[in-house]
Symmetry: C2
C-alpha cells in the first residue's frame, strides 16, 4: 500500500461523513469554527500569529518552475506592508511553468482516485494544523477581522474544500473500475470484461481573489487536484500568502507521497503582467476557476474556450421587504449583513426593495424612513463601540471601495452616513461603517450595478408586486449571489420563491436570528447557482466537478 492510499484510509471516515452530508444537506462541519483555546489549545493562537509574523520581510520558500526573481505585492488593510516576496512568474516563464506542471500528471493519474483523495485530505488536515497562521494571513490580505478570517478563511474554507472532495470522489467512483458484460444471443452469449479509468482533463488554473483568497479558491483547487489535474494557482496580488501556504502544504504532501510536487504551483505575478489572461488561454489549460470582476470573468468565458471555465463574478444581491413579525430582528439581521466585513462579501445584500408607503410590522406600520431609522439603530448597537465595530467590519480592502463609498451619497437620499472608525489595535487600518441610501424604482441606473463595499439601497416601489418584479428582472439581467425576503404572508412568500426560481438565485426567508443571508453553510447550502449572470457555477454541485475528469474505458472478451 502506498503512502497516499494509507492517507486515504486514515481520512476515510471524514470523507464518508462529508459525502453523506452532501446527500442529506443536514448540518455538518469537519473543522471547528471556534478559535477558542478550549478547542485548539492554549498556545495555538499565539503560535499561529508568530508563524504569520515570521513570514514578514522574507522570501517565501517555494520553488516555482519558470519563475524569475520575486514580487512583493501585499499590503494589510490594517495598515502595514507584508513585505513577503514570492517567486515571480512573468509571461516569458509560462512555457516552463506549464511544462513542469504537467510532468507529474501521468503518475498521479495512474495512482487512482483513492491515492489522490488521500493526498488532498492530508493537505486539508495539515492546513487545519496551521489554521491560526492561515487566519492571520487571510486577515492581513483581505481585511477580514480575525474571527471572520479564522472562520471563513480557515474552518469554512476547509469545509468547502472537503465538500468539493466529497463530490469529486462520488463522481469518479460512480462508474465501477471494472465490469462484466454479457449479452444474450442465439448462440453463446457475448461476454466482455470492461475497465473504466477516470483521467484528468489537463492543467487547472485557479485564479484567486483579494477578499476570500482561500474560501473562493479551495473548491476549484481541490476538485481539480482530486480528479488528477495539476493546479496552477494564480493568486490575487493583494492576497498571495494564504495561497502560498496552501501550495507549500500541498507540495509537501505530494512529495512525501511520492508524487511530483509541481503538480501544484504558485504563479505570483507583477500585477502589470496580466498573467491570468496569458495562462487562461494556454492550450494545456483545460479548467479555469475564477472569482472576481464581471469584466474579466466574461472575458474568460468568451476567450478561454479551450477550457471549461467556472466563474464567480458580481451581482446585485436583493432583499424584498413586505412585512415582518419581528421588526427589531429584521433590522438587526439586515444591519449585521450590511456591516459584516464592510459589505465586501459577494453575498452581502445591496438592493432592498420596499413599498413607498412602508411595511407592516409587529411594531405597527413603518414608513421607509422609519425602516431606515430601525436599521440605523441596529447599526448603533452593533457598531457604536469602535473596539466591537472593528471585529465586525474588518478593514477596507482597497481604495476602490473607499471611492465608491465616498460617491455613493450623491445617488440618492442619505438615510445613514458612513463613519470612519479608529481601530484600537492597528493605527493605519482603514475602517468604515455602511451607508444606507434611499432610491426609487426609477433609479435603475444606480441599483442595477453592484456598488461593491458598504453601500446599501432602500428602494421605494409602488408595492410588493413591483418589488418582486424588480427583484426578478434585475437579477435575471445583472445577477445575484443571494436574495432574501421578509413577509408574514404565505402568498407573498410563494410569490417571491417563484421569482427566485425564475431569477435562479437562492432565497433566504425571514432571517431575524443568527443566520445571515451572506452566509452559506458547506454541505447544505449551495453558494451561487450558475443560473444567473453572477456566477456560472455553484459550490458545490455535480456540475462543478463532473467535467473535471473524463472516463476512458477498455474492453476485451472473456
Amino acid at each position: 500500500m502506498s503512502t497516499a492510499t494509507d492517507l486515504f484510509t486514515a481520512h476515510r471516515e471524514i470523507l464518508d461523513q462529508a459525502i453523506e452530508a452532501t446527500r442529506t444537506r443536514a448540518y455538518y462541519s469537519a473543522f471547528n469554527e471556534s478559535p477558542s483555546p478550549r478547542v485548539y489549545g492554549e498556545t495555538a493562537a499565539a503560535d499561529g500569529q508568530a508563524a504569520f509574523e515570521a513570514w514578514r520581510g522574507t522570501t517565501f520558500p517555494l520553488d516555482t518552475p519558470g519563475a524569475d526573481g520575486t514580487v512583493s505585492t501585499e499590503k494589510s488593510p490594517f495598515g502595514f506592508a507584508l513585505d513577503v516576496a514570492y517567486p515571480r512568474v512573468a509571461p516569458a516563464g509560462v512555457d516552463a511553468l506549464v511544462a513542469a506542471a504537467g510532468a507529474g500528471l501521468k503518475a498521479f493519474r495512474d495512482a487512482g482516485p483513492e491515492a489522490r483523495l488521500g493526498v488532498c485530505l492530508e493537505v486539508l488536515h495539515r492546513l487545519h494544523g496551521r489554521i491560526f497562521e492561515l487566519a492571520n494571513a487571510v486577515q492581513h490580505t483581505s481585511g477580514q477581522a480575525f474571527v471572520m478570517a479564522f472562520q471563513a478563511g480557515g474552518a469554512h474554507a476547509l469545509d468547502r474544500a472537503l465538500e468539493a472532495l466529497a463530490y469529486a470522489y462520488t463522481e469518479m467512483t460512480r462508474t465501477p473500475r471494472t465490469a462484466r458484460w454479457e449479452k444474450p444471443g442465439r448462440g453463446e452469449p457475448l461476454r466482455m470484461e470492461k475497465t473504466f479509468t477516470a483521467v484528468p482533463r489537463g492543467l487547472s488554473l485557479v485564479i484567486g481573489c483579494n477578499t476570500f483568497p482561500t474560501w473562493n479558491s479551495y473548491p476549484g483547487f481541490f476538485a481539480s487536484l482530486a480528479c488528477g489535474n495539476p493546479v496552477v494557482v494564480k493568486p490575487h496580488p493583494g492576497a498571495v500568502l494564504p495561497l502560498a501556504i496552501t501550495v507549500q502544504v500541498a507540495q509537501e504532501v505530494l512529495s512525501e507521497a511520492g508524487f511530483d510536487p509541481h503538480l501544484v504551483t504558485l504563479a505570483a505575478e507583477d500585477p502589470a503582467d496580466g498573467l491570468a489572461a496569458v495562462l487562461a488561454v494556454r492550450p494545456e489549460v483545460r479548467l479555469v476557476d475564477f472569482t472576481g470582476s464581471n469584466a474579466f470573468g466574461e472575458w474568460l468565458e468568451k476567450n478561454a474556450t479551450q477550457a471549461t471555465v467556472f466563474t464567480e463574478k458580481a451581482g446585485v444581491n436583493t432583499v424584498v421587504l413586505d412585512s415582518t413579525d419581528s421588526f427589531k430582528g429584521l433590522c438587526t439581521n439586515l444591519a449585521f449583513s450590511f456591516a459584516l466585513y464592510t459589505g465586501q462579501m459577494c453575498t452581502a445584500p445591496q438592493n432592498v426593495y420596499l413599498p413607498a408607503d412602508g411595511i407592516d410590522t409587529d411594531e405597527g406600520h413603518k414608513s421607509v424612513a422609519e425602516v431606515a431609522e430601525g436599521i440605523d439603530a441596529a447599526f448603533g448597537k452593533l457598531l457604536g463601540d469602535d473596539a466591537r465595530a472593528v471585529e465586525l467590519l474588518g478593514g477596507v480592502v482597497n481604495d476602490g471601495v473607499l471611492s465608491r463609498l465616498e460617491s455613493a451619497g450623491s445617488a440618492g437620499k442619505v438615510y445613514v452616513e458612513s463613519r470612519a472608525v479608529q481601530h484600537p489595535e492597528f493605527e493605519g487600518a482603514v475602517v468604515r461603517t455602511p451607508t444606507l441610501i434611499g432610491l426609487t424604482a426609477a433609479d435603475a441606473e444606480v441599483y442595477e450595478s453592484e456598488c461593491f463595499g458598504p453601500v446599501a439601497y432602500l428602494i421605494e416601489t409602488s408595492g410588493t408586486d413591483e418589488s418582486v418584479d424588480l427583484f426578478r428582472s434585475t437579477v435575471q439581467a445583472h445577477g445575484a449571489m443571494t436574495a432574501s425576503t421578509y413577509s408574514t404572508s404565505d402568498d407573498v412568500l410563494a410569490q417571491v420563491r417563484d421569482a427566485a426560481l425564475d431569477a435562479g438565485v437562492a432565497l433566504s426567508e425571514n432571517l431575524t436570528g443568527g443566520v445571515f443571508v451572506n452566509q452559506s453553510a458547506a454541505f447544505s447550502d449551495f453558494h451561487g447557482t450558475g443560473a444567473n449572470p453572477a456566477a456560472n457555477a455553484s459550490y458545490t454541485d455535480g456540475a462543478y466537478v463532473a467535467s473535471r475528469f473524463r472516463v476512458v474505458q477498455s474492453r476485451r472478451h472473456v
Copy 2:
C-alpha cells in the same frame, strides 16, 4: 396526481432498471433490437413501412412557431426523393420560434422531475411503438441498411435516450427536495428548513446529423427535456423525417399531459439559411448539442459561449496491429468494421498501424500484403454476394463520400479496390465496398485527417513501439471516437492501454468475434470520452447531464 406523474409511475420500473445498469455497466437493453415478427408481431414491419410510405409527397403535420412556408430537402441514398415538406424556419422566424419555445418552460419546471421524466419515458414508449416507421425513415435518410436502421436508428437510439434519462433523473434527485438543518451552538440550535429545486438552463438546441439522426440526437434531446429545457431540434436537411416523427410524438405527449407542446419544436431549414449558427448564439439558448463536422463543431465551441456546448465531431479511429492468435477472426472483424454502413460511422476504424515487417499470427508470420489479402478475403465472404452486401453496406449518404473514395487511391498503394454494388431492390441506390490503401508512417498528411467513408489505411511502421507512439500522438492531436488493438502480448496490451489513457480514447482489445469496435452498448460503453479533440462530451456520463439544470434553494427558520 397529474397525467405526467401517472406516466412516471407507469414507466418507473424501466427507469429504475436503466439507472441500475448505468451503475453496474452490465448488459441492459429496454428495447428489443430484433425486427423479427416473433418479437414485434406479424404485421409490424409492413405497417411501419406503409406508415413511412404514407409520408412521401406530403406536408408533415407539425406546427412550428415562426415558420414560413415549407422546405423539402431529403433524398434517399437508395435512389429516390422523399418529397416530404416541413415547416421552414428562416432566420427571420427565429424570434417567434424562440419566444414560443420558452413559453411553456415555467409550467414544465414547476411540474418537477417525476412529471418531466413521465413525459419523456412515454415519448420513448410511443416511439418504440413506431419503431418500424422510424427505421424506414432512418434508412431512407441516412442510407443505413434496414436492419441497422432498425437497430442503431431505433432500438439502440431508444436505449441511449433512456440512458440519458437515467442520468438526468439521478442527477436531479441526488439533492433532496427538502432538508432540515440544525446547527448546534451555545444556546438554542439554529434550525432551518431548506427547499431545493432543479431549474432548467433555458432553451436547448439539438443539431442533428445526416448519418445517425436519432442515435446521435436522442441523448441530448432527452437529457435536456428531462431537466426542463425546451428543445429546438434543427435536423440535418438530409435527415429530417426521423426527427419530425420524434417531435410529433413529443408534442402529442406534452399536450396530453397538459404541457405546452412547443416545449419541443422542429426547425427545418433551407440549407442555404445556415439556421444552426443563427440559433446557436441566441442568448436564450443555453445548451447546444451538435454532431457533425470539425469545422462547425469548433465554431460552436468558440462562438456559442453563452451556452454549454456538447460536440461530437470527427477523428481518426485507430487500430494497432501487433500480433494475434486468430488471424481469420482479426480479418473478419476488421473487414466487418470497415464495411458496416460503408465506413460512414463516426466509430469506423481508419488508421491501421502495423510493423512494416508484418505480424505474428496463429497462421504464421504475415506480411503487410498478406494482412491486406486476409482482409480482402474477409471482404469477399461478407460482400461477395450483392444481395448480402447491401444489407451490410447500406447506401452512400452523399456525394462527398463518393468523391473522397474516388481520390483515396492516389494517396498510396491500393491493396483492395472499392467496388460498385448493384442493389437488387433499389435501382438508384449508390453502394460501394471499402477500399484498403497502403501507407507508411511518413504519410502523416494523409492519415492525420479523417477520410469519412469506406477508406481504410494500412500504415507501415518500424514496429509496434512506433505504432503505439503514432496512435497516441495522432489521437491527441486529431481525436478519435474509437481505438482497437490486437496483440498476444500482455506487455503490448498494457502499453496500448496506457497510450489510450494518454490519448483519452476508448480501447477495444482483440475483437475477433461478434463485437465490433464501431459499436458501443448503451448503459455499459461510453460513446466518446470528451478527452480528445473528436468530442468534448460522452454518451452518457455525469458531465453530459449535470450542467443541464441548476439547483435553486430557499431556506427559512423552523
